[in-house]
Amino acid sequence: MDFYIQVLISGLLLGGIYALISIGLNLIFGVVRILNFAHGELVMLAMYGTFWLYKLYDLDPYLSLVVVLPAMFLFGVVLQRFILQPVLTTSGVMKMFTTVGISILMQNLALILWKGDFRAVQTFYSMSTIKFSGLIISIPRLVAFGAALLSIILLYLFLKYTYVGKALRAIVEDHATARLMGITVERHYLLAFGLGALFSALGGTLMMPFSSVYPTIGGPFTALAFVIVVLGGLGSMGGTFLAGLFIGVIEAFAGTFVSPGLKEAIYFVIFLLVLMVRPQGLFGMGRGTEEIGLK
């Protein structure tokens, strides 16, 4: 029994990180309606930021958030303003390919600037664990999980109770009508992209104590985040969180009891099944999704 609980804990902790990265994507996907193929690269960039702050200035990964988060927010805003905004009126396909271009560009710039080495941060708490009644929990993973939970709650409150948050929700649902209300949609796109980058950066930085970074690390995160966002439902932060945990747990159990090599395949199959049976997402609102491809 303990064994199953241990696997479950592992999956939940992993799912927290996944959720964190995915809410960033959900904001971008939901608000700006761009299929952001460069999402994993945002995570990658944040991880490198954390690494270099640690390496050059001996800054602890958690402290480096102070620098990395604003920087990544700004990066997201710039990306949206100068690269994506100009193609916003073209078809979805074109927007998507712009992000593919950004992804290729960022990956290879990282390769040129920082080489292919995998880099890790070594902190005193990297390996620290909590042990009780035969269960082991990694502290940095727990911290990441807590941060994920906290930031999802904060984001929820922000969307629920602030005026800007309400405007963002309105845009998720119907940006044309939001415009009729006088909502400056483009400016909110900037905000959404910035926040999306910020949450991805948070996920990336919190992973650094127990993970390593290299130029091509982003790809799998992009795919994963898409799966989670679709499962959780567009525009639904709670749904994304649950879907993140769900995928984390599925991955842990499938990996442990089926085969570690097939764990990704299993969640992709679930993804396809969900698209087949309930395309509006397992937990989600799925409202306003008709426009971007769900019937």
Binding site: F3, N108, L111, Q122, M127, R141, G219, P260
Partner: protein
């Protein structure tokens, strides 16, 4: 209309430029150097290339081969398809008569196939798949160990050191394998399983995982259940760190033995810190080794540091250095000629005993073109350094058992 004409002209130019290379000069020896220097394998590919490059620089300083300077025509085998294109290009456009490379086995399989069908020499200095020299081509040679040699190194160590240390007989030793499911991990794991069966080791668990995975807890759980005496890990890069970290997080108290790749990288120790201590590894010759048996190693490291401004990142550059030197020696003896018969004769006649090259490997090619005197050494991470611990003559420290 003007736009179109310009576009068409540009297209044609592009075709032309990509098709017409710069022709080789007579006064130099042109060799193709094919490595994956972009894409997923870029890191080790580039490190491997550096080894060959150092060998070239050194040899040119000493007067080159048969009085001619050596020039590398570089190719980027970033994908299998690129490996093929680049091989064709180097042969047809750059007119190279021999190619060295490749680090990754699948790239080598493609590239050497192209080269062999055109009777162009292919010298493999770093890829380890057994099949490379088993296809019956007379122009494909390999100076480095095969994946079977890797596993031989591991199995010898397990039987001759681990078993006595644990107070067990060889056939009581249980081994768990965790390998990345790429071509490297799969072929090494297959070799290990084959060899282990012959020697009576028990394999209790074989876990394949994707090297892009960001969580290996399931691998750890499965290994924990199987409870082996040692985990043989075949990791390509960051997954080596991840495996060790999660083993530690999740209380897998079993010694881990890497198989080159990610376990040989300095980043492994940098990332893990003290936790890296005691992790075993089997690989090409590394830098902390009994230099009596590796003449030329210190010179290599010195020149590497001068050229690239830091300590070599892994032993694969050294292996490529050694291999490139063997090729230069062969060409020296043929007087710079690429005549197949001459090269074959010279190569087959080569007979260097172990302990006389920079990697400590001897040189003796078998009929298939494989250097049978290449061997893998067991190393161990000790205080951030990858120290050779086995076999004894190469060792600079005694191995220790860290769970």
């Amino acid at each position: 209309m003007k736009k179109l004409a310009m576009l068409a002209a540009a297209c044609i130019c592009l075709m032309q430029i990509s098709v017409t290379g710069v022709f080789a000069e007579e006064k130099t020896i042109q060799i193709g150097a094919l490595y994956p220097i972009s894409g997923n394998l870029a890191l080790m590919g580039e490190e491997s290339w550096r080894g060959a490059e150092i060998a070239r620089i050194l040899r040119n300083r000493q007067g080159g081969v048969a009085g001619k300077q050596i020039v590398f025509r570089q190719g980027d085998a970033s994908t299998n398809s690129a490996a093929r294109s680049e091989t064709e290009r180097m042969i047809e456009q750059d007119k190279v008569k021999a190619i060295l490379g490749t680090y990754a086995s699948s790239r080598c399989m493609v590239a050497s196939e192209v080269a062999a069908r055109k009777d162009i020499f292919y010298f493999e200095l770093g890829a380890i798949a057994n099949a490379i020299t088993q296809r019956g081509y007379k122009t494909v040679w390999r100076t480095c160990p095969t994946s079977l040699d890797f596993c031989r190194g591991q199995v010898n160590f397990i039987i001759n050191w681990l078993a006595p240390t644990l107070g067990k007989k060889a056939n009581e030793i249980k081994v768990g394998i965790a390998h990345e499911d790429g071509e490297y991990g799969t072929s090494v794991a297959n070799s290990f399983a084959t060899l282990a069966k012959k020697t009576g080791l028990q394999i209790v668990s074989v876990e394949a995982y994707s090297n892009t995975s960001n969580d290996l807890s399931s691998v750890i759980f499965r290994l924990r259940k199987a409870a082996p005496d040692i985990v043989v890990a075949v990791s390509s890069s960051q997954d080596a760190i991840l495996l060790s970290r999660q083993a530690n997080e999740l209380g897998l108290n079993i010694p881990i033995m890497g198989t080159g790749g990610g376990h040989s990288f300095q980043s492994f120790a940098d990332g893990l810190g003290p936790q890296a201590n005691g992790v075993l590894n089997v690989d090409f010759t590394q830098y902390h080794v009994n230099t009596k048996y590796t003449p030329g190693l210190e010179e290599f490291v010195k020149l590497y540091q001068e050229t690239f401004k830091h300590f070599p990142r892994a032993g694969s550059s050294l292996a490529n250095f050694m291999g490139a030197n063997v090729i230069f020696n062969i060409l020296e003896k043929t007087g710079g000629s690429f005549d197949p018969e001459k090269i074959r004769k010279v190569a087959m006649a080569m007979d260097i005993q172990p302990g006389h090259t920079a990697t400590g490997w001897g040189v003796k090619f078998d009929k298939e073109g494989q250097n049978v005197r290449a061997e893998c050494l067991v190393t161990q991470w000790r205080d951030g350094k990858l120290v050779t611990v086995w076999p004894k003559k190469f060792a600079v420290m005694e191995p220790i058992l860290v769970k």
